[in-house]
Symmetry: D3
Subunit: 228 residues, 6 copies
C-alpha cells in the first residue's frame, strides 16, 4: 500500500483507524555492479512486504541520500548533510500535521545517519510523536544470518545482491579486503575500492541466504511496527 | 533507461559519448481521485518514453515538491521552498561533477517553479552547463490539444487522469468552476476545492485525447533534448 | 500614504480601523534603456495611486529581487532565491505582529515568483492572515490593453516605458523577436538580448496606451484591496 | 546619481573610469515623531550630496534593517540578523562581479552592525575588494558638533530631526533621560521609551546645528570615498 | 561553580532557588604575544570570580568567535557570523528550556557583537527571559582605570596582558599607533598590525593596574547579576 | 600543547615542520553523577597525552554537541544538528587555510556523528586535506578492555567514570539494564534512564581498568596521528 496507489481520501480513511506510516530513505550511489538505487530498492521491498502484512502505508521513497565519499563514481548524486536533514524535518512535520503519530524510517544507506539526531529534535518539539529508525544491514538479526552463512557482509557485496538489485553480471569469487582506517574523500574511496564493492566477502550468495536476510529484516520491521 | 537499471559503470560509459540527463520532479500531494504521486507519474512516463527514443538516462524522481496550499489534504507531503531549492542545487552540482552538461528537468508540479531561478544561478556558477525546465501542462502544444478537444484543463481533472494515475473510480460529468482570485492557505484551499479537483472541466477524457496530450508533451521533450 | 511619510503613531492609529497593507517588490536590474529600478517604479506608482484612493498604506519598497539571468548587465544586483524568500518571510511576520491581516504584494519582477509558495506557507502558519500577490504585467486586463493596441508586451519594451521609468532616449521602431526556448545563464542572456530589451514589440507606445495600461492595473489592485 | 536614474549602459560606462559605489542601509522602524524611514533618509541624503560632488553612484537603499527591540512599535519591520547579512553578502558579490572594487556602505541604523564582520569575511574571499562602513551618528566629527552645541545626541531626538525626516509636529523641550543597562526586549523597549525617543536631549535643534551635523558627516564621507 | 564541576542533579537543585546563568564567549584568535585564548581567559576569570561571590554557575565557554580580520595569523579559528549566531540561539533556548530566566553573557571579543541583535530577537520570542551582554573592555569603569593610569587600551596590548594570558615574553616599550580608517581584510590586518598588537599603548602594565582593571570589570558584573 | 598555551607565532613556527592538528569535540550534557563536561574531559585528556608524546597541538575544545535526547536533564545544552555541522565546517576551513593538512577529531559524544559526512564533503572540496575522526568508546581496543574486565560499557557508567570526570559520590553496584528499542524523545529518555546512567554495568570500575581503557584509546590515537 504505497502512497502512489492511494489518493487523499484513502489516507484520510486510514487515519481514522491507524496512525502509523513507513518512510523509505536511501541513496542514489554506486553499488559496484548493482543498481545505483540499491539502497532504495532493499528498504522499499521490505516496506512493501511489511505493508502487505500490516496495512501500514508507505510514503514515496526519498531517492537521494548523503554520499559524499562516492561522488567520484558516476551516477552517485549526493545531498549535502544539511539538505538531507531539512528534508527529513519537512517530511516528519508534514506527516505529523495529518495525524500520523508513529513513523518508522526504513533506511538503506549508512550516510543518512545524521537524520537520527534531527528526529530526536523533532520528537521533542512535536508532543505525542514516536519515531523509529531501522537500518536493516546493521541489525543483529541480519548479522546473525551472515555469520551463520559464513559470509562477511559489506557495501555492495553479496549482502545487497538481491535479484531485484542486479543490473549486470556479478563477478564470481571473493573481493579482497579493502581496509580503511580513516574517513575517505571521494578520490581516496575510488582509489581504494576500485569497482566500488567493499572487500572481505563474495560478490553474491545463494538465494536461500538472501531470503533469510530478507526475512530477518522483515521480522524486525514487523516488530518495530508495534511501536511498543 | 532509468538510473535504477544502471550501475555506475554504465553511467561512466554513457558519459563518454553523451552528456545529457533527465531529472523528474513533482509532488506528493492531493490530486482529487487520482494518485498522490500523479505529479511524478506523468513526467516519469514522459521521461521513460523520451529515454526509449534517445537513450538519455533518467535520474531517480524527486518524489516531493512544494505544496503548501494542499497540506490540509491527508497524504500531501510538502517541502519548504528553501528545502526544495537546496535539493535542486545539490542534484545539479552532483550531475555536473560527473560530466553531465545538458540537464532537462521534467516537472509535474506548479509549486516547484521557484527552482527555475536557482537553475539560472547555477548556470552562472558552473560554466558550460545548460539546463532546461519543462512543465508539460503549461506547454502550448498541450493547451492546443485541450482547446481542440474543447476541454478545460486543470489540476487533477481529466488532464491528469491518465490510466496510470488512476487509483479509484472517477466521477462522471464536469466539476463546476472553482474561481480563486488570491493566494490560498491550506484551509482555504480545502474549503474551496472540496474533493481537490480544480473546476471547469470534466473529470475524465477519452483515451484518444489523453494520447494526444501525451504525444504533444513527448514531442516537446524530444525537441528540447536537442538543446539547440 | 507611504511609510516614509508616517511615524509609528500614525500606523498605530490606522490599525484601529483597518488591517490592510501594500508591499512593493521588484528588482534592481537591467531594463534596456530604462531605469535600473523600473520594476520598483511601476508597482510603487500603482501603490501610490491605490493608496490615494483607499488610504491603505504602502510599506517601503524592497529594491532588490531575484535576477540571476541579468547579472552580466552592469547595475543588476540580484538576491539569491533563498535570501529573497527569507526577506519576504520577515516582512510578513513583522506586519502580522503589528496586527495587519490583509497584505497585498505588488510585484514588478518575474524572478520574484518563488515568494508565492512562501506566502502560502506563512498563511498556514499565521491564522487569519490573508495575502495576495499581483504581478501587473501578467494581468488579463493589461494583456487586453496590449492586444487592443496591437503591441506585443515584453520586458523593457514599450510596456514598461512609462515616462517615470525613462532615463535616456528610446530607440524608435520595433525590436526584432528574441526567441528563447531554454533557461538562460547570464552570459547567454546578454548574448541573446543585446541592449536588454526583449523583442517582438516597439520600444515605446503612445502616452494614451500607457495610461490605459496603468488604469487597468490600478483597477485590478483596487478590486484586490477589497480582499473578497 | 542614483541607480534609479541610470540604465545599465550608464553603469557600464562609469565602470570604465571608476570602481566606487555607495550603498545605503538603514531601517524601517519607529523614530518617535519622525518618519519610519529616518534611518534611510539621512544616509541617502548624505549619499546624494556626496554623489553630487564625486560622481560616485548610489545603489538603491535597502529599506529594512535589524530592529528586534522596536517591534512593538507599529510600522517597524525588522529583518532577522541572518536575513540581513545574507542580503549584504548578495549585494557585495553582485557589485564585485560587475567590477566595482571600492564599496562604501552608508549606514543609518545601529542594529545593522552585524554586517561589518560579514564584510570582512567577503573581503577575504574576494581579492582586491575594499569595503568601508560609515555610521554617521557615531562619527567623532558629528559628536563634536553635538558637544559644541551642548546637545545630547540620541535615537530619534534632535540629532535625527532633519527637516526631511519630519512627518509631524515635534514636542518642545527636552526628553528626560531613559537609562537602560541591559539588552531590552521589544516589550521592555516600548515600556521604557514611551514615545520612542531616547532621552537626555531636546526633540529638535536649530537648523544651523543640523547643517553642521550634515556637513560634518558629508565631509567624512568625501574623505572615505578616497579609499586611501 | 563551572558546569564542568557539576552534574545535572546539581543544576536541578540550583534551579529551585535561582534562575541566573553566566555564559562566556570569546575567540580563538591572534593576540600578539599573548595566548590565542586570551578572549576566553579573561571573561572566564571574571566569571569564576563572580561565581565565587554569587553562586551563579558558569556554562562552558564557547571557545570560538567571529574573527575574519585575523585569519592570516595562524591559530585564529573564526566562525562565520551566521554560525556564531546560530550557536547563541541554541544556547539561549537550551538554558531557557531548563528554567534559566536571567542570562549574562560575558564577552571577550569585539567580533561577537552580532549576537546582541539575536539576543533581542530571542527575548521577544521567549517571554520572561532577561539577557544581558557585557564586553568588559568597553566598560566605562575599565576605560576610567586606563585613563587614570595614562595607558591607551587596545587589542592585545597591556589591557589584555594579564598574567594568566601570557605565554611568552612581552616586548617592552610602547607599540606605535596603527591607525586604520576602514574595515580590513585579513591580509590588510596582518600587513598593518605586524605582531598583531594594536598600537598606541605599552605591551604591559604594572600588576596593580591590571588588578584595578579586573576589579572594575568584576564590580560591573556583580551589579549586572542583580538584573535590576 | 594546547592552543591556549600558544600564541600565533608559535603556531606559525609549528606549521613550518608539521601540519597535524587535534580537535576535541564532545557535549555539555547529563552524565548521571559525573561532570556535565564528561564528553569533553575524556577526549581532552587523551589529546593532552597524545600531544605530550607527539607535539601535535590541540585546538580549543568545542564544549557543546548534539544532545537532543537529554534536554530534559538540567544542564544539558544541545546544539541543533545543523548548527553543529556548520561549526565543524568553519573549524576545518579555518585550520586548512593556515596550512594544517592532517586533522584528527577526538570525539567524546555519540550525538556528534553527523559531522563525519560533512568532513567527507570538506575533503572533497579542499584538496590535500586528510581528516580522521576517533570516538574512543567505540574503538575495538577499548571494547576489548571492557570485555576482558567483564564490565558492560555504557553512557555515564564506569566507562566514563575517570577520576577527572567525578564531581559527586558514585553509587555502588550495577545499574539494571535500560533497554531501548527506539529513538527516544527527551521526555522518554528521562523516564527511562532516571539518574541518567545507561544500564547493564557498574557505576565504577577499578582504577587499573580505567588506566587500561585510557591507554588503549591513547594507543589508537598515536597510531592515527601517523595518518598512514
Amino acid at each position: 500500500m504505497r502512497f502512489e496507489d492511494l489518493n487523499w481520501m484513502d489516507v484520510e480513511s486510514y487515519l481514522k483507524t491507524d496512525d502509523r506510516l513507513m518512510f523509505v530513505v536511501g541513496a542514489c550511489e554506486q553499488h559496484g555492479y548493482l543498481s545505483l538505487l540499491t539502497d532504495i530498492k532493499i528498504p522499499l521491498a521490505l516496506a512493501d512486504a511489511a505493508s502487505a502484512r500490516t496495512n501500514v502505508p508507505v510514503a514515496p521513497p526519498l531517492n537521494f541520500g548523503v554520499s559524499p565519499y562516492f561522488t567520484r563514481y558516476p551516477g552517485t548524486l549526493s545531498l549535502r548533510t544539511r539538505t538531507f536533514i531539512a528534508i527529513i524535518e519537512d517530511l516528519v512535520r508534514g506527516a505529523q500535521a495529518h495525524g500520523f503519530r508513529r513513523l518508522l524510517f526504513l533506511n538503506g544507506h549508512g550516510g543518512n545517519h545524521p537524520a537520527t539526531e534531527v528526529l530526536s529534535e523533532l520528537m521533542n518539539e512535536l508532543p505525542g510523536l514516536k519515531v523509529d529508525w531501522y537500518s536493516w544491514w546493521t541489525a543483529a538479526s541480519v548479522k546473525a544470518v551472515a555469520a551463520e552463512a559464513g559470509l562477511a557482509p559489506n557495501h555492495a557485496n553479496w549482502l545487497e545482491a538481491f535479484t531485484f538489485c542486479r543490473v549486470a553480471e556479478l563477478p564470481s569469487g571473493v573481493k579482497p579486503p579493502t581496509p580503511s582506517a580513516r574517513l575517505l574523500s571521494a578520490d581516496e574511496s575510488r582509489a581504494l575500492y576500485g569497482d566500488g564493492v567493499f572487500g572481505g566477502g563474495p560478490y553474491s550468495a545463494p538465494e536461500a541466504v538472501m531470503e533469510r536476510v530478507f526475512d530477518a529484516a522483515l521480522s524486525d520491521i514487523l516488530a518495530r511496527l508495534r511501536f511498543d
